[in-house]
Symmetry: C2
Subunit: 336 residues, 2 copies
C-alpha cells in the first residue's frame, strides 16, 4: 500500500538505522542508491511516512527512526529469507559436521551457534516428547521406600521420576515391576501410555507399576517440554542501552516456561518475526524475536529463535534461523 518511492525510502531508513542505531536524516537517505530524488523530496515523503505511522522522530530537529509498524513493513517486504553469507554458511556447515554427543548438548550448542551467527541471543526449544516412542522403561530401587523410574525414548532422551512408595517394597518386587513395565510399555508412544497395565497377580509389584504409569501419564507432554536452551544471554547487555531493559529481558529469559510459550505463540500465529509489542510481552517492547520451527521426520518438533533489539538485522537473522532450523531438523531426522 506504499508506493515504490515511499517503500524504498522506508527501507533505506530501516537499513541505515539498523547499522548505525542513529536517527536517519533525509540527506543520508537521498544518498542511498535506489533513492534517486533530492533530500527535499525525501523530507516530504518522510513526513508522510511519519503521519502514517511508519517512522517517528525522537525530537523535532532529528532524523527519523522506524516504528514497530515500519519494521513490520520492512520485514513483510523482504521476501524469502535468502541465503546466508559465506562465512556464516561455513560456520553452520562446520557446526553440523562436528556436532555430536547427546541431544541436550547439541541443542545447547545450537543456541550458542545462533547467538554467534547473529550477535544476539539464541533460543532453542527441544523437540516435543509427545509423539516419541518409548524404547525402554526401568525401575530402580534407591531406598526401601523410594524408587527411580527411568524411561528411555527413541530420540535418545531419558526421562526420570523419583517415586515415594507408601510402604517398603522388596527389591525383587521392584525388579519384577521393572521387567513387567518394560515389556508392557516399550514401543508405545510417550503421549499414549495406557491408563493401566495388566496385573501380575502380585499386589506390591502392581502397586509399583501403577505408580510409574501414573506419573508418566500425569507428566505428559507439556511439563516435560518446559526446558529451553538459551545461548549468548550476555549479548542482551549490548542489545539495549537502558540497564533496566537489560534486566527485564534477562528476567524473561530466566523463565523457561515463559520462553517456550512465547516461541510457541509466535510460531502458532504464523509469524517468522515478532517485533516489540507483537511478542505480547511488555518487557520485550524494545526487542524482536525471529523464530522458526524445525521438523523431525516430517513432524513439527520444536522451535528455535533469535532474540535481539528491534533494530536487529532481520534479513541476516531470518536467514540464520531458517538455515539452522532446517539443518537441525535434518540432523535429528537422520539420527532416529
Amino acid at each position: 500500500m506504499l508506493d515504490d518511492r515511499k517503500a524504498s525510502i522506508l527501507r533505506a531508513v530501516v537499513q541505515e538505522y539498523i547499522e548505525t542505531a542513529q536517527p536517519v536524516g533525509s540527506g543520508k537517505v537521498a544518498e542511498t542508491p535506489g533513492v534517486d530524488v533530492s533530500s527535499a523530496t525525501v523530507r516530504n515523503e518522510m513526513a508522510v511516512l511519519e503521519s502514517e505511522g511508519y517512522l517517528t522522530q525522537p525530537h523535532t530537529s532529528a532524523g527519523r527512526i522506524p516504528t514497530e509498524k515500519g519494521y513490520r513493513y520492512f520485514v513483510d517486504t523482504i521476501g524469502a529469507p535468502g541465503a546466508l553469507r559465506g562465512e556464516q554458511a561455513r560456520q553452520v556447515s562446520e557446526f553440523f559436521a562436528r556436532a555430536h554427543g547427546e541431544l541436550e548438548e547439541m541443542l545447547e550448542s545450537t543456541s550458542r551457534l545462533l547467538s554467534g551467527l547473529t550477535a544476539w541471543t539464541g533460543v532453542v526449544v527441544p523437540p516435543s516428547a509427545a509423539d516419541v516412542a518409548i524404547r525402554s522403561v526401568q525401575v530402580v530401587g534407591l531406598s526401601p521406600t523410594t524408587v527411580l523410574a527411568v524411561a528411555v525414548l527413541a530420540d535418545a532422551t531419558v526421562e526420570k521420576h523419583t517415586l515415594e512408595l507408601p510402604r517398603e517394597i522388596g527389591e525383587e518386587r521392584v525388579n519384577a515391576a521393572s521387567a513387567h513395565l518394560a515389556a508392557q510399555l516399550t514401543g508405545s508412544m510417550r503421549a499414549a501410555v495406557p491408563e493401566a497395565v495388566a496385573g501380575t497377580g502380585d499386589a506390591d509389584t502392581d502397586a509399583v507399576s501403577a505408580a510409574v504409569v501414573d506419573v508418566l501419564r500425569r507428566t505428559t507432554p507439556a511439563d516435560t517440554a518446559e526446558e529451553v536452551f538459551v545461548g549468548g544471554a550476555s549479548r542482551v547487555a549490548s542489545a539495549f542501552d537502558a540497564v533496566e531493559t537489560v534486566q527485564q529481558v534477562l528476567s524473561v529469559l530466566e523463565e523457561q516456561l515463559v520462553v517456550v510459550t512465547l516461541l510457541r505463540d509466535v510460531v502458532d500465529r504464523g509469524l517468522q518475526v515478532a517485533i516489540g509489542t507483537e511478542t505480547g510481552m511488555e518487557p520485550l517492547a524494545d526487542a524482536a524475536l525471529v523464530v522458526a520451527s524445525y521438523t523431525v521426520a516430517g513432524e513439527r518438533a520444536g522451535s528455535i529463535g533469535v532474540l535481539g533489539p528491534a533494530r536487529m538485522n532481520y534479513p541476516e537473522a531470518m536467514a540464520a534461523v531458517a538455515a539452522v532450523s532446517r539443518r537441525l531438523g535434518d540432523r535429528l531426522t537422520s539420527e532416529t
Copy 2:
C-alpha cells in the same frame, strides 16, 4: 593489626558504602555509633587507612570507598557467619520444607533461593558423581548401529551416553550386554568402574560391554560434573553500573566449566569469600563471590555461592550461603 579505632572507622566506611554505594565522608563516619570522635579525627585516621591501602578516594574532594584490602579486612573480622534474619530464615525453612522433585530441579531452585535471599546471583555446583554407587546400568538399542547406555546412580541422577557401534549388532546381543553390565557394575563406585568386565564368550556382546565400560571410564568424574545451576542472572544487570562489566560477568556465568572451576578453586584455597582479583578472573575485578561447600553423608559433595558486586552485604550473604549449604547437605544426606 589495625587499632580499634581504625578498625571501627574502616568498618563504618564499608558498611555505609555497601548500603549507599556512595563515597563515605568523615562526617557520616563520625555520626556512626561506636565511633565517638570528631570528624577531624576521623579524617586523620582515614588518611592513614588510605596510605595503608584500605581505602581510596575517587577524587580529591570526595569521600572514601573501600579497596579490595579494605573489604578483605572487613570480611576477616566479621567472625562467625551469624544467623539469618527472621524473614530470610523463614524463606529458607519454607523452601526446604516444600522442596521436592528431582535433584536437578532442586539444585536449580536452590540457586534461585540464594539469589532471592541476597538480591544477587546464586550458583550451585551439584554433588560430584565420583564416589556415588552405581545402582543400575542399562543399554538400549536406538538404531542398528547406535545404543544408549544409561547408568542410574545412588543419588538419583541418571547419566547417559550415546554410542556408535562399529557394526550392526542385533537386539538380543545388546540386551545380553545390558544384563551382563548390570550384573557386573551395579554396586561399584562411579569413579571405580573396572577396566574391563568379564567376558561372556560372545564377541558382539563383549564388544558392546567394552564400549560402555570404556565410555564410563573416560568420562569420570570431572567431565560429568561440569554442570552448574545459575539463578538470578538478571541481577547482574543491577550489580554493576558499566554495561561492559555486566556483559563480561554474564559471559563468565555462561561458561559452566569456568564457574565450576572458580568455585572449586575458592573453596580449595580455604576461603569463604573471594573479592575482586582474588577470584583470579579479570572480568570479576569488581565482583565478589561468597562460597560454601556442602557435605552429603559427611563427604564434601558440591558447593554453592553468591556472586555480586564487591560492595555486597557480606554478613548477610555469608549467613545465607552458610545456612543454605548446611540445609542442602542435610537434605541430600537424608534422601540417600
